[in-house]
């Protein structure tokens, strides 16, 4: 996969900062504004509109699961952890949220831009991998269906190789995955079977 370097387009992106007002994070909103983002600050509750934000910065020191309207690790946007105390329990909690980048408090001018770019890249990559894993899982789960479809088709063809080729041809003409085609073949087969049974009986 080739990805051409682009001018990162952050203008008008929305960031929510989930942190109580504190001198250690004053520079964060300023820096996000300088970069061109719209910033909303919230504590302790996330506003409903936060679900549509492009980035969420969250406090690791005082944060808790119930602040988020999603299960831990399932945020729909890149997360940046704001770390003060480096207590292992707190770091573990931030990891459970699946933070994509972190900034150590107090926040200065440096570090915010790189956190944005790293978080977005990591989040996109994580999402891409999750989608790929889901699709692979689906295919693995359908292994048995494929075997059953090939067996069903091979009763009408010379051998299994031909049956498999036929299954692929069906998938292409139906414009579905091999696994989906296999499922249809198996469904047809069992439908035919259920019609046949009474006649035989």
């Amino acid at each position: 996969m080739s990805r051409r370097a682009r001018i990162p387009n952050l203008g008008g992106a929305r960031a929510v900062v989930l942190h109580r007002p504190h001198p250690g994070i004053e520079a964060l909103a300023r820096q996000l504004g300088a970069i061109g983002l719209e910033v909303t600050e919230a504590w302790p509750d996330l506003p409903a509109s936060a679900v549509g934000a492009d980035f969420l910065f969250f406090d690791v020191d005082l944060g808790f699961d119930e602040q988020f309207p999603w299960a831990p690790g399932e945020a729909p946007m890149p997360l940046v952890a704001l770390i003060g105390s480096e207590a292992p329990g707190r770091i573990e909690w931030a990891l459970a949220q699946k933070a994509d980048a972190q900034i150590v408090k107090p926040v200065g001018s440096a570090g915010v831009y790189s956190a944005l770019l790293i978080a977005r890249r990591a989040f996109d990559e994580r999402r891409r991998l999750a989608a790929e894993i889901a699709s692979l899982r689906e295919r693995v789960a359908e292994r048995q269906t494929v075997v059953r479809a090939v067996v069903a088709l091979s009763s009408r063809t010379k051998d299994e190789d031909q049956a498999y080729a036929q299954l692929r041809a069906l998938a292409m003409s139906w414009q579905v995955t091999l696994e989906e085609a296999a499922r249809r073949v198996v469904d047809l087969q069992s439908a035919e079977g259920s019609h046949e049974r009474p006649r035989r009986a």
């Binding site: 682009r6 970069i35 061109g36």
Partner: protein, 380 residues
């Protein structure tokens, strides 16, 4: 904070009572970018003299000068020394991004403010720096738009091998692609290297529509000379067909490349129009830095950097760059954009913006569709 009374003291200067404020001046007077350092130094010292001579001003500046001699590692210790050992809270200084990035930690540690007067590659907004010269939406973006519309869209990118060249060329790759062109080549020379023969051969072989020059100092001078020789040999490479275009080449360096710069282009916030001074955008920006600083100290009633930052953006400032405003969010100046063509040791203005262009150091508001549609006013 009530620092002013403690650190400043009163001096008699002409008739009125002026409060003395020390400011650091940190420019290199030797090394590979001497001419730029000297131009900025002249601007800063000229503005200090103007502030001191102005009877309407309630303050007088005393320059605390240090010379890093072009050595990037010398900047941070000298900045720290000024902030630690003298009353100065403000520094006017640095040319290269390298030196600016070295100085920022010292400013953060000791609570100083740097007034930075060189054009740079953007993607920074330190609250310890006020940026008085152009960043890419005020130089590179309008420059590529100008040349793509007139000479063609295909570019060759050259630069000195450090952050300015790398980042400028990275942005240029995107701009050229958005203009519908292609990058025919991209080459870097070590700082100070003057062996440009291979570079010129590659430009000849690939025949781009323009060459974006991000070389600095002697490397740039050698490149202009060699390119002029190529143009004499092969008319396809004359400046009216395939110009070299730059964002950091000003009047300060034109005597060093004359007559080989003739007809090539620069995009700058200030072009010398014959007045006594300032005579380049480096000089004008450093001059403006001191003017804005004086305005802000008078408005704040103190030279404490936090107080100065609070009032910076409150009103426009009459400066050597014209009437300019500082954007509170980014601490970058809104600046005019001018595209000039080299004629002797001056520039002819080909095109200029209507008024000032707001700073956008992260190119967050860059819009390819609007950029590659003509929007600047044609002067001639």
């Amino acid at each position: 904070m009530r620092l002013a009374g403690r650190r400043g003291f009163f001096v008699w200067n002409a008739a009125p009572l002026k409060r003395r404020i020390d400011i650091g001046v940190l420019y290199s007077r030797s090394g590979s970018y001497t001419l730029l350092g000297e131009a900025c130094r002249a601007g800063a010292l000229g503005a200090i003299a103007a502030v001191n001579a102005d009877p309407k001003r309630s303050i007088a500046f005393a320059a605390v000068e240090r010379d890093p001699a072009g050595r990037s590692e010398a900047y941070a210790p000298l900045a720290a020394e000024i902030l630690r050992d003298t009353p100065a809270r403000h520094l006017v200084g640095c040319i290269t991004s390298w030196s600016r990035k070295e100085v920022i930690p010292a400013l953060e540690k000791q609570g100083g403010l740097l007034w930075y007067a060189a054009p740079y590659e953007g993607f920074e907004a330190s609250d310890h720096v006020v940026y008085l010269n152009a960043s890419p939406n005020q130089h590179l973006v309008p420059l590529v738009a100008h040349v793509a519309a007139r000479f063609g869209r295909d570019a060759f990118l050259v630069g000195s091998n450090y952050i300015w060249g790398w980042e400028m060329n990275r942005i240029a790759r995107d701009l050229v692609a958005d203009a519908g062109g292609e990058v025919r080549g991209e080459r870097y020379l070590p700082l100070g290297d003057t062996d440009v023969s291979r570079l010129v051969e590659e430009v000849r072989a690939t025949a781009p529509d323009f060459v974006l020059n991000n070389l600095i100092g002697p490397s740039a001078y050698a490149f202009y000379a060699a390119y002029a020789a190529l143009g004499r040999d092969d008319p396809r490479f004359r400046p009216d067909r395939r110009p070299i275009v730059s964002c950091n080449l000003t009047e300060a360096e034109l005597p060093s490349i004359a007559p080989f710069g003739e007809g090539h282009l620069s995009c700058l916030p200030f072009i010398h129009a014959g007045e006594a001074s300032p005579s380049s955008s480096f000089e004008a920006a450093a001059h403006a830095a001191v003017t804005v600083l004086a305005d802000a100290i008078e408005a704040a009633g103190t030279d404490a950097p936090d107080a100065v930052r609070q009032v910076l953006a409150a009103a426009p400032h009459e400066t050597a760059l014209g009437a300019i405003r500082i954007d509170a969010r980014t601490q970058h100046a809104a600046l005019p954009v001018k595209i000039g063509r080299i004629a002797g040791t001056r520039f002819e203005v080909l095109e200029e913006s209507r008024g000032s262009v707001e700073p956008d150091p992260y190119l967050s508001h860059y819009d390819p569709a609007a950029t590659f549609r003509p929007s600047l006013r044609l002067v001639r």
